[in-house]
Amino acid sequence: MKKLLSGNEAIARGAWESGVRIAAAYPGTPSTEILETFAPMPGVYAEWCPNEKVALDVAIGAAYAGARAMAVMKHVGLNVAADAFFYASMTGTEAGLVIVSADDPDMHSSQNEQDNRRYARFARVPCLEPSDSQEAKDLVGAAFSISEEFDTPVMLRTTTRIAHSYTLVELGEPEVEDRPEPPSYRIDTGKYVMVPGNARRRHPVIEERMAKLARFAETFPYNQVEMNDRSLGIVTNGVAYQYAKEVFPEASILKLGMTYPLPKAMIQDFAAQVDRLIVLEELDPFIEEEIRLLGIQVEGKIIFPICGEFNPQVVRDRAIEAGLLPGSARVEVKEPEKGPLPPRPPILCPGCPHRGVFHVTNKLKLVVNGDIGCYTLGFLPPQAALHTCGCMGASIGVAHGVAKARIKERNAAVIGDSTFFHTGMPALLNTVYNQGHTITIVLDNRTTAMTGHQHHPGTGRTLQGEETVAVKFEHLARAMGIEEVHTVDSYDLKGVEEALRACLAQDGPAVIVARRECALLPEVRRQWLPLKVNEERCNGCALCFQVGCPALVKSQRLDEKTGRPKAWIDPLLCTGCEICAQVCAREAILFRAQLAGNGG
């Protein structure tokens, strides 16, 4: 049966068909749907971990114990998990271990662009790359075979465009039977205890493994030559293969399904048969550099960009500039003069609880060291309330450093609930231990919101829907020795302000848990109730517009005295959070209770 699947869905299916029974991950765009698709499949165990390093350790443990296991993360997740990635390469595993790294060219939802094939080479781990969903599914199976044959973890690298494009996939059935009896744990300390003596003995084994894998790459069926017109030969990988086929239908192509280690003889042979050799690969000149090391003349990044994502147009335009295609190949584009257009960047949703907290940090003129999550968007005007964002968990350490360096203003760390569990906890411990007085605001919207509502250790549910302990931030903070701990409702502007003022008035480290469910959670959606503006009271002062809610727009009606447009609330967007109603100085925005009184 054929089905339209995203690359992520195909990987989940491939994992199930390959007999993966244990998978672990931390949500991260563009990888999140892999575990969400895998978790409900029959006979599997899957979990969200607090971070990618823990997820990879869990998968490694499962593979040590003889179960095929998979860890899934976005590209920067592998930075967090890098320690584990390297030791797993050194030890190998008893059963197959695959690490899915979903890279994000063009940073659709990331803080930096990085090419994780560098990690594969760095840690001596083979790297496979699919060019569509069918290959994404098939390469999972190939990855497990390679992992077990060569005693190595295998990286399956996707990019956003593979992860989130839907293409046809032929579904198969699981190959592997469940183990009837749990096996005994096989103890092999020389292989699995990486103290210097053992590690020194392992390193040559790893180098030898890579040499064997390089020979294997020569016959790996997903490295494919398609000979056509020999005037141009294109070496390509991943989704760039699709662009190569579309833009250069006549060219000869060497498609690499395994990009580390490379099939050197195959490349040499291909290069010898074509007049001009180019590499078409997104991000780093990874394949290109390896080909140069073979002493072969090749062009790559001199033609195609390092930054951003490819598409047929980028590839075609650059190819025309480089003389690879005639000028007549250019696609006619008509660019009319549009006049200025207001941008529509991602923004805090209507009803977002973070908006209320940012309103107060602005009022108190705090410098805010932020973190990764929906609330990062608080940096945007009109609130412009968040002033740094680097990586997961950075806020608390950065805020501590800022405070230790001493500035005139007071500062606060702002971090989401899931991000706090991810890497915020050690940083908070550091603030306490080193006698910082930073205020840490945990924006607890009861979910991992930005990636699409995943559970985390604070929600009381696991990935597979089991009820579990709901860890409380207040308890953690107190256990770390913090005495100033407040819990407030993020929608209650007065309450948030009182808590912040109390924290500012004392000199120790403080934690405020600003709690309110994400407005998009299904149980909250059911309570949406659009507010209304009393047009007679509104004088167009525009104070409410400063909270930056998309549901609040300028009405067509102007105030007679001020001549300014009154406020209007779009009933299709408003959730009834009442943040704007609290901000309005003229009581012109009706609270929920008043709506009922007014007959709705």
């Binding site: 598409n311 047929p312 009319p336 960047p345 991602p346 209507p350 779009d570 967007l573």
Partner: protein
């Protein structure tokens, strides 16, 4: 080679992704190869959303290059304007006549373009520009949020695909209790063009 390249644009929360799901699946059922590309992440609602859907005997790139889109389907007017140059000169634009001003219009100095400007600019590129009151039609049927399917219904008039296929895919893609509403929404849009 017969090919149909669609770009669907709108604002997060309007149902661009559901509309593109349906469209891709209809392509498959009509006997084409189909691919669909979209980007998740960042804000859930309120940002600009784009989805590429391609039908052909064999589809290669999941993304459509600029100037190659045959049908631009816009669930919001400003977004139609934002993406118009993706359209093949002479191609078709179908616009849900609905306005969602970005926050920079209320809190900053930005202006939402007026209808005259929207129509003029779209006509400079497109051979065929169709506006339909998707939100009003959907509201009349009882749920203004079905304007995505109304707009899809309008698009269906431009394509030679059996009505039954559309209705079947819609029934597969929406929760059971909303099938009737979405069928009505689709037909209302279909009658508009």
């Amino acid at each position: 080679m017969t090919k149909f390249d669609f770009l669907l644009v709108g604002v997060g929360g309007q149902g661009v992704l559901l509309a593109s799901d349906i469209l891709a699946e209809v392509g498959l059922k009509a006997g084409y190869d189909a691919k669909k590309a979209e980007v998740h992440g960042m804000a859930q609602r309120g940002g600009s959303v784009v989805s590429h859907v391609r039908w052909a005997e064999k589809v290669l790139s999941p993304l459509i290059g600029r100037g190659e889109v045959d049908y631009l389907l816009a669930l919001e007017k400003l977004e139609a304007l934002r993406y118009i140059e993706v359209l093949r000169p002479g191609g078709t634009v179908i616009v849900n006549d609905h306005r969602i001003p970005p926050v920079s219009v209320s809190s900053g100095g930005d202006e939402y373009p007026d209808d005259q400007r929207v129509r003029r600019v779209l006509s400079e590129v497109a051979g065929d520009v169709r506006f339909l009151p998707g939100v009003e039609l959907a509201r009349e049927l009882g749920n203004a949020r079905a304007s995505n399917v109304v707009t899809l219904g309008a698009l269906s008039q431009c394509l030679d695909v059996d009505l039954d296929i559309w209705l079947e895919v819609i029934a597969e893609r929406v929760p059971e209790k909303y099938v009737e509403l979405n069928h009505q929404a689709f037909l209302a849009g279909r009658r508009q063009l």
